[in-house]
């Protein structure tokens, strides 16, 4: 037992240590990619008709004429001291922008992931245990439709029905302008309002979150339905389930203790990878619901070649992905000892 905790600890330490070279590569790659491609932020913002000497002066001020390696080392130094620079578009420090937009996206993605996992795993197991019967076909159809629906279109339909026609939920935004937002602690309105003990603010924040996270969550649940269904079928046909049945263990126990547990391991693994999918969907969902998050921010930053903003966002996304994959790996190593180094 002591040995296995030690190896788990060693595994975690190795994985954490590996985070740094990965992030370093990501930062370097983004920096050079942005410099290689044509176009620059100042030209993109000022468009045509601006006197060239004005553009030249601003570019010199921003250090865009310095040799590339000097820009690179300056940038590295800034990143390691936690300075992401100032957004050329919003004129605010990138860190400040990100700390404003990031919580919205975190709130959206986490609640969508919850919706997707509950719906997907629920429907997937339901289908997997009734293979090739009518419920299974229904679930597969649901999975296909959910996965293939254009997310922005689906969001618009939900919005039209539940916000415009029925009037049950707010049409857009993160918070009602008539209420005062809770004092910022985490930036997540739901948590901050709870911390402040403001129940009305909490309900308001939740009601703004429901439609966007249902949109994103249902679309993603299609993916989970497929993965869960396949793995449940696989587990139900395996030798250990056969053996458990042969020992006379009640079917319910066979399912929950033996089949489901094993079926969920690959589902957890793929969960980490779906974050990329989730973020793609978040850009569109945020657009439809005017939900001010990172997706919209990055989209605008790309349009204006806002180097500091793009770099900052990519670094943050990278850190987030590395942490998520670390978390998932450790979770899996915990469940399945064979994975440890």
């Amino acid at each position: 037992m002591a040995g296995s905790t030690a190896s788990l600890r060693a595994y975690v330490i190795t994985r954490v240590a590996l985070m740094f070279p990965m992030l370093f590569l990501l930062v370097t790659f983004t920096f050079f990619l942005l410099r290689v491609v044509p176009g620059d932020p100042i030209t993109a913002i000022f468009r045509e008709g601006t006197p060239p000497d004005v553009i030249d002066r601003i570019k010199t001020q921003l250090g865009l004429y310095d040799p590339l390696y000097i820009q690179y080392f300056r940038y590295l130094r800034d990143v390691f001291t936690g300075n992401m620079g100032t957004s050329i578009l919003t004129q605010r420090p990138v860190l400040q922008d990100i700390s404003y937009y990031m919580p919205a996206t975190i709130e959206l993605t986490l609640s969508s992931m919850l919706v997707a996992a509950l719906l997907g795993i629920g429907i997937g197991t339901f289908a997997g245990t009734r293979r090739d019967r009518l419920p299974d076909l229904g679930a597969r159809l649901y999975g296909s439709l959910a996965y293939n629906i254009p997310i922005f279109w689906f969001g618009l339909i939900l919005k039209l029905i539940f916000a415009v026609w029925l009037g049950w939920l707010p049409v857009s935004g993160r918070f009602s302008p008539r209420l005062s937002a809770p004092p910022t602690v985490t930036g997540l309105y739901t948590i901050d309002s709870l911390l402040a003990g403001d129940l009305r603010a909490f309900i308001d924040a939740i009601s703004h979150l429901i439609l966007p996270s249902l949109t994103l969550g249902i679309v993603l649940s299609g993916f989970f339905v497929r993965i869960t269904r396949v793995n449940v079928i696989h587990a139900m046909g395996s030798d250990y389930v056969e053996a458990a049945r042969a020992r006379g263990i009640p079917e319910q126990n066979v399912f929950f203790r033996h089949a489901l547990k094993n079926a969920l391991v690959p589902v957890i693994t793929t969960m980490g990878l779906t974050f990329a999918l989730l973020f793609s969907g978040a850009i569109l969902t945020e657009t439809v619901f005017s939900f001010e998050g990172m997706g919209r921010y990055v989209f605008q930053a790309i349009g204006y070649r806002d180097y500091p903003a793009i770099q900052g966002a990519v670094v943050y996304y990278g850190i987030l992905m590395v942490i998520i994959s670390l978390f998932i790996d450790i979770l899996n190593a915990f469940v399945d000892p064979r994975i440890r180094y």
Partner: protein, 302 residues
């Protein structure tokens, strides 16, 4: 079935087709035929758009936002253009982009995957690392970035979408090659001193090629969505070209008063993607009996 395989040296297409026809009465077979039928219908709509569309897609033919009915089966949009005509013409861009994009991904992803899986070693590890990094990056964001850099145009969008899906081909092909490489018949060919090129061409490629139609159709569905997402965000296409995603972006602010101008283009995106998925999933069941019960996405991600 045996008739096809017994000939031994039948062409790859012949073998696949044989297995496919013999399965056409099973559930998977029916799904494939339904999917192919729908996709072909949309292709026909796109090709014969000038003859099938009742109105010119870019001309104002009625007052703005006329509800569906009368000569306007799906109503008119906020510019007074016929929605149905725009949908028929609008099939061209997604189909063209998907066809070009998936072909580019295949042409780049397949050889790199073959090379990486067959050669192995350090090259393999580097390629896997690079491809995994692209794969872990949000696809739509990558496409947005590329589209923003290279500018508007159907070919440009195709390229932006293609880059997103290269890693998928790479992963599936590479993993497949890596496992085929261990097979006794490949090892025997190596031991007999056959050249690498011949081994790949003769033994590895035919085995691996079976996965291609499946990834192709699954990716096609995905790239329709990426293309629609891009054009919905207003990127990629010059104004004036009818396109489903682009039309939604023009009309969605008025969804509550003129639902038809937003609803129908989206419905057609859903029909096309679902049909392509049907083709992919059905083909998967038919062509890969060994992998039959494995999810393709899952296979690509392990």
């Amino acid at each position: 079935m045996t008739g096809w395989s017994a000939r031994g040296r039948t062409s790859l297409v012949g073998r696949l087709l044989g297995r496919f026809i013999s399965q056409s009465k099973t559930f998977a077979g029916i799904i494939v035929w339904v999917g192919i039928g729908i996709v072909l219908t949309i292709v026909v709509l796109a090709i014969f758009a000038p003859f099938l569309a009742p109105f010119d897609p870019n001309t104002k033919v009625a007052t703005e936002e006329t509800p569906p009915g009368g000569p306007f089966l799906m109503g008119t949009d906020r510019s007074g253009q016929d929605v149905l005509s725009r949908i028929i013409w609008g099939a061209r861009v997604p189909l063209a982009i998907v066809a070009v994009a998936t072909t580019i991904s295949l042409v780049i992803g397949l050889p790199i995957g073959l090379l990486s899986g067959f050669v192995g070693g350090r090259l393999d590890r580097i390629l896997v690392l690079v491809m995994d990094s692209i794969y872990a990056f949000p696809g739509l964001l990558l496409a947005i970035a590329i589209a923003a850099i290279i500018g508007r145009g159907v070919l440009n969008v195709s390229f932006a979408v293609a880059v997103v899906y290269i890693p998928t081909y790479f992963r599936v092909i590479r993993n497949h090659v890596a496992s085929v490489k261990q097979e006794p018949y490949v090892e025997a060919a190596v031991a007999l001193g056959m050249s690498k090129r011949r081994i790949i061409g003769r033994y590895v490629l035919p085995n691996v090629a079976q996965s291609v139609p499946v990834i192709f159709s699954v990716n096609a569905a995905d790239s329709v969505l990426t293309e629609a997402g891009l054009t919905f965000l207003g990127l990629g296409l010059p104004p004036g070209i009818p396109d489903w995603g682009f039309d939604i972006s023009l009309n969605w602010q008025r969804f509550d008063s003129a639902w038809w101008a937003t609803f129908y283009p989206g419905l057609f995106i859903l029909i096309l993607t679902t049909a392509l998925t049907f083709v992919g999933e059905g083909l998967n069941d038919i062509l890969n009996p060994l992998l039959r019960k494995k999810e393709y996405k899952a296979a690509a991600e392990t």
